[in-house]
């Protein structure tokens, strides 16, 4: 991406209002960079609900099934041993490990999915539009790749109407 427009807010409430305005005007906001999660911004930006919960559920289910299944296999098929007269399929004994594996896999599958999906990770390439985005600025990023000059103007206008500061067009 070579051409884009950035503008920032210094207050999250202004940001949300601004974002709503800009989007109402039909401008597509590519991304917003904020120093902290702004409540309601995802709604304002029209984001879908996350599907990471499903990944977590899947991971957890796999963890539970594999965990329980493995224990049951070991105790009944692979190497049945008599421990203190307990039944081979000693279900209550299998619960803790099943639970832990479910949680472990749920957590890890979800977090890994998150990092992979967003290509985040140790040493990931970072594009910083404004270093203060992680401090006190709420930066709005609008794609201007294929925008004509008047389109850019329109966007800049919309941004300024929406109360954004520091409107910058980069080529």
């Amino acid at each position: 991406m070579n051409k884009y427009i950035t503008a920032y807010y210094t207050d999250e409430n202004d940001l949300i209002k601004g974002v709503k305005q800009i989007r109402e005007k039909g401008h597509n906001i590519l991304d917003v960079f904020t120093p902290f999660p702004v409540h309601g911004l995802d709604v304002a930006l029209g984001m879908r609900r996350s599907r990471l919960t499903r990944v977590a559920f899947g991971g957890g289910a796999v963890g539970a099934i594999v965990g329980f299944g493995f224990q049951a296999w070991v105790f009944t098929k692979a190497y049945p041993l008599n421990f203190g007269g307990k039944p081979y399929l000693s279900v209550p004994s299998f619960i803790p490990v099943t639970f832990e594996l479910a949680v472990l896999l749920a957590a890890f599958s979800m977090v890994i999915a998150f990092f992979i999906h967003f290509k985040l990770g140790p040493g990931a390439k970072t594009v910083v539009y404004d270093e203060r985005c992680t401090d006190d600025r709420f930066l709005v990023l609008i794609d201007a790749e294929n925008a004509e000059a008047d389109e850019v103007k329109k966007i800049e206008k919309a941004l300024s109407d929406a109360g954004a500061e520091g409107i910058t067009y980069k080529e």
């Binding site: 409540h39 995802d42 919960t53 559920f57 209550p92 004994s93 619960i95």
Partner: protein, 408 residues
């Protein structure tokens, strides 16, 4: 919290969209009375068809305990949020307050059952001539005078604190003075502490001592967790009824979501305690403890497993998804399942020891009596709701509750 010495009357001008007074309609009374009648008829049928007195007494005891528990948890709902200084539940705390009105009613019924033959039927340890060595060791605790003294202590404490909390809550509503809010918190704290102790001791008295030889340190907390789930589910059910009647329109999905989370979380918590108790006893397999589960698994297997399915599997699976906790059409069926499930939980706590496998059963008597108790309970709760405004508008956190939204 440092209390601001400001009158908060300025919060009063928040517009309330609907009628803030609950009216106990004839229709409601009729339904409730009809339910009570069903209960009485069922008992009568029971006697007529030769259902044993022990079974009927046990059944009455079960319902007494179950619905007193509901009342206690209703009050607990108010109290625990008051001391936690949380705001979101304020708009529905009247339901909890109203539920607590049942405590004296249930207490009276319980006392009647005890006084008229219940003690002998329910508690083996009252058979003073036939105590074995182990029961003799327990006489210092398990004796009738002390039992009644404890009974009186529990109920007077609960009734008094329920009264104080309701009264303070109403006062707070009248003038919104933070002083009353602080008082409410104080009474709530006392109640929570008192309940923390008495919930266990009363469970030992009224439930655990049925199987007088048996003991488990977790028992009191297990019973409390069961009470919590069923009580919170009952709040949801009443909330639903009120909403259907056109009240409580300010209660939105977020509030319901939170109640759903309670039902979900507490069901897991109940299952956790169930598992802890069962697994530890199963694992050590010491006969003095295993006898308890041995009887239940062997002779009450259906109820034993149904207990787990209704109270853990169904709430866990159905309420896991976020959205299912936000809609009544899932939440209410689950609440009903929980209501039935925890009734069954109590059934399997009481019946094996009192009635035994030969006589026990769930028939017209049990179902009918429970319907009757439910009718009585509802009637009392509805009556309770008429006693104050339905929404405590002058509560300092009222606005918080009203403007409640969260994305989780």
């Amino acid at each position: 919290m440092q209390v601001l010495k400001v009158s908060l009357t300025k919060n009063r001008n928040i517009s309330v969209m609907e009628n803030n007074t609950f009216t106990l309609t004839k229709k409601l009374i009729t339904i409730c009375v009809a339910m009570i009648a069903v209960g009485i008829i069922a008992i009568a049928i029971g006697f007529a068809t030769g259902v044993s007195g022990t079974r009927i007494v046990a059944n009455l005891h079960l319902n007494n305990y179950y619905f007193v528990g509901m009342g206690l948890i209703g009050l607990f709902f108010v109290a625990v949020h008051a001391i936690a200084e949380s705001g979101w539940q304020v708009s529905m705390q009247r339901i909890g307050e109203a539920m607590s009105v049942f405590i004296p009613v249930g207490g009276l019924l319980m006392l009647l059952v005890f006084l008229f033959g219940g003690m002998h039927a329910l508690f083996e340890w009252t058979h003073e001539d036939h105590l074995d060595a182990i029961l003799l060791k327990k006489v210092a605790f398990l004796n009738q005078p002390f039992f009644y003294i404890r009974f009186v202590v529990y109920f007077s404490g609960w009734i008094l604190l329920a009264h104080l909390i309701r009264k303070t809550s109403r006062k707070l509503d009248l003038n919104g003075d933070v002083h009353y809010f602080n008082q409410l918190r104080k009474f709530s704290a006392i109640y929570v502490v008192f309940l923390a102790i008495t919930s266990s001791t009363s469970a030992w008295d009224w439930l655990m001592s049925i199987d007088a030889h048996w003991f488990s340190t977790l028992y009191g907390w297990y019973v409390l967790s069961s009470m919590l789930v069923s009580g919170f589910s009952m709040i949801v059910i009443i909330l639903f009824i009120l909403k259907r009647m056109g009240y409580m329109s300010h209660v939105n999905n977020e509030h319901i979501h939170d109640m759903g989370k309670y039902m979900f979380g507490l069901s897991i918590f109940w299952a956790y305690l169930w598992f802890s108790q069962y697994m530890l006893i199963w694992y050590a397999n010491i006969p003095e403890e295993t006898i308890y589960f041995y009887e239940r698994i062997k002779y009450f297997d259906t109820v034993f497993y149904l207990n787990l399915i209704l109270n853990f599997a169904i709430p866990f699976l159905l309420l896991m998804a976020r959205n299912s906790k936000r809609v009544f059409w899932i939440l209410i069926p689950v609440a009903v399942v929980i209501f039935i499930g925890h009734w069954l939980d109590l059934y399997q706590l009481i019946m094996p020891g009192v009635v035994g496998q030969a006589e026990a059963g769930i028939g017209i008597v049990e179902i009918g009596t429970t319907i009757g108790y439910l009718g009585l309970f509802m009637l009392v709760v509805f009556y309770g709701l008429t006693k104050s405004s339905l929404v405590p508008k002058n509560h300092p956190f009222y606005k918080e509750s009203l403007e409640y939204h969260t994305n989780y």
